[in-house]
């Protein structure tokens, strides 16, 4: 009988303990920076889009929710003509972020994307493109790539040797 009374007293004291409930939406849950939430397309430090339309993210996606079409601008710089993600299919696995060679597509810790109609869950490029460098600041793919796409000339990249003149006779 004494153990019962002791149990009751200890449970009664729980009235004064801190409660474990997080009162959403006034309080929010703390998410870590690599939490796989909403997908965004980021920009490089000079303000251009990072996405080069290489289709690697669409190929890596296990549920085929990414659709895009690449096109080139007048400088030869590739960019996506349209970029569509169907968030009713997306499983937020992060494979597209791992596949992207230019750090363009990223998953950020945001999950508040509820919609009333299923069609509103298909995000176009204007919904995905953000004016930020996201999780990887300071990286511009065209500064380390070899080609000239209006950002730098051939041979002037960060870790590049100067270009070889293929039309001269000297080795």
């Amino acid at each position: 009988m004494f153990s019962h009374l002791r149990t009751m007293w200890l449970v009664f004291l729980h009235l004064f303990h801190k409660k474990a409930t997080i009162q959403y939406p006034e309080e929010k849950i703390k998410l870590h920076p690599r939490w796989r939430g909403r997908i965004v397309l980021t920009r490089d430090p000079d303000g251009g889009e990072r996405c080069v339309g290489c289709y690697l993210c669409a190929a890596a996606c296990p549920v085929d929710c990414i659709a895009l079409q690449a096109t080139e601008d007048e400088n030869g710089r590739r960019y996506p003509e349209f970029f569509r993600i169907n968030f009713s299919r997306c499983i937020f696995c992060g494979y597209c972020e791992e596949a992207c060679p230019t750090y363009a597509i990223q998953l950020i810790p945001d999950f508040e994307m509820a919609e009333y109609k299923r069609q509103d869950l298909v995000f176009e490029k204007e919904d995905l493109l953000i004016n930020s460098e996201g999780k990887y600041p300071g990286y511009n793919f065209y500064k380390v790539a070899g080609m000239d796409a209006g950002v730098k000339s051939k041979g002037a990249g960060e870790t590049e040797d100067p270009a070889v003149d293929v039309h001269s006779l000297l080795p």
């Binding site: 019962h4 149990t7 009751m8 200890l10 449970v11 009664f12 729980h14 009235l15 303990h17 801190k18 409660k19 474990a20 409930t21 009162q23």
Partner: protein, 315 residues
């Protein structure tokens, strides 16, 4: 004319308390389990009562085709009827009592005996093995614990010399009976928990092996009646404990007597919820064994000692 208002008032207050207990129980249980209960629907979550009641009204009130129809419908009515009838003898304040019976205590014990019928009839009418098992266990548990519910109150009756609850409250003017009959109080409270089949004695209903026990086949308002009957039973046992052992409406005069009664009853209702939050459920045979082998000898010993002391004082 005065009396009809008392009757209607008691009925109104009781049914509201039974509904309000839905909110009280859910919030108190949650607070004791380190979480917040319902606090969004209405101020402090009080509209959860409305939500639950509306939910019960809108559920399909179906009588199974294999069930014994009239008994099936009558069983929930029995439980609510007997519990409500038991409230007529309780003195809420010096002149607020529905029926000042001279055999008030006997009437209460008789009504709780009739309440066993609700479980038996509900389980039998459901025509279902598991409900029947739940009903059998429930009936034997309730009958066993009713024996010492009655006997534990006999100590108080001996000291007062009357079954009338008004006299019992009046006899506590100098000293509450909790002081002279502590064992009687403990045994009566335990028996009361078993009568209303609340945790830790809720074998009839929260059995995971018997699905939902005797009210497995019930839905909609019939289930609501069992539910309300259980909450009314909790209120009844709390009110009886307060009346018999804790002085009823007696208390210092800075609060009206009705307020004292309400405060004390509410404290015991909170104790019922605390029991549900804290104690595990014993096995069925352990429960019945505890009743017959531990509590019955204790209550008889209590009766002997009380009788002996009463005789010696009167000498």
């Amino acid at each position: 004319m005065q009396h009809i208002w008392i009757v209607l008032g008691v009925l109104f207050v009781l049914l509201n308390i039974a509904a309000g207990l839905i909110w009280v129980e859910r919030r108190l249980l949650a607070l004791w389990q380190d979480r917040l209960g319902p606090n969004r629907a209405g101020p402090l979550g009080i509209f959860i009562v409305l939500a639950d009641t509306l939910k019960l009204f809108f559920k399909e009130d179906w009588v199974p085709p294999f069930a014994d129809k009239w008994v099936f419908i009558a069983a929930p009515a029995v439980v609510v009827g007997t519990v409500l009838m038991s409230f007529v003898i309780i003195p809420f304040a010096p002149n607020i009592v529905v029926a000042d019976l001279n055999i008030g205590l006997l009437f209460f014990l008789a009504m709780s005996s009739l309440g066993v019928y609700s479980i038996v009839l509900g389980g039998w009418a459901s025509n279902n093995k598991y409900s029947l098992l739940g009903a059998l266990r429930g009936a034997s548990q309730m009958i066993a614990y009713e024996v010492f519910m009655g006997l534990s109150l006999m100590g108080v009756v001996m000291l007062t010399g009357s079954f009338n609850l008004g006299n019992i409250v009046a006899a506590q003017k100098d000293m509450w009976f909790i002081v002279t009959q502590p064992l009687g109080f403990v045994i009566f409270f335990i028996a009361g928990i078993a009568e209303t089949h609340r945790l830790p004695f809720d074998i009839p209903e929260a059995e995971s092996e018997l699905i939902a026990g005797y009210h497995a086949e019930y839905s909609g308002m019939k289930f609501g009646m069992f539910f309300i009957g259980e909450y009314l039973g909790i209120t009844l046992i709390s009110a009886m404990t307060v009346t018999i052992f804790f002085g009823g409406w007696l208390g210092p005069s800075f609060l009206p007597p009705l307020a004292w009664f309400a405060l004390k009853t509410f404290a015991f209702i909170a104790l019922f919820v605390l029991l549900r939050a804290s104690l595990p459920r014993p096995r069925y045979d352990q429960l019945i064994e505890y009743g017959w082998k531990v509590l019955l000898p204790l209550v008889l010993a209590n009766l002997l000692i009380t009788g002996a002391i009463a005789l010696w004082i009167r000498k």
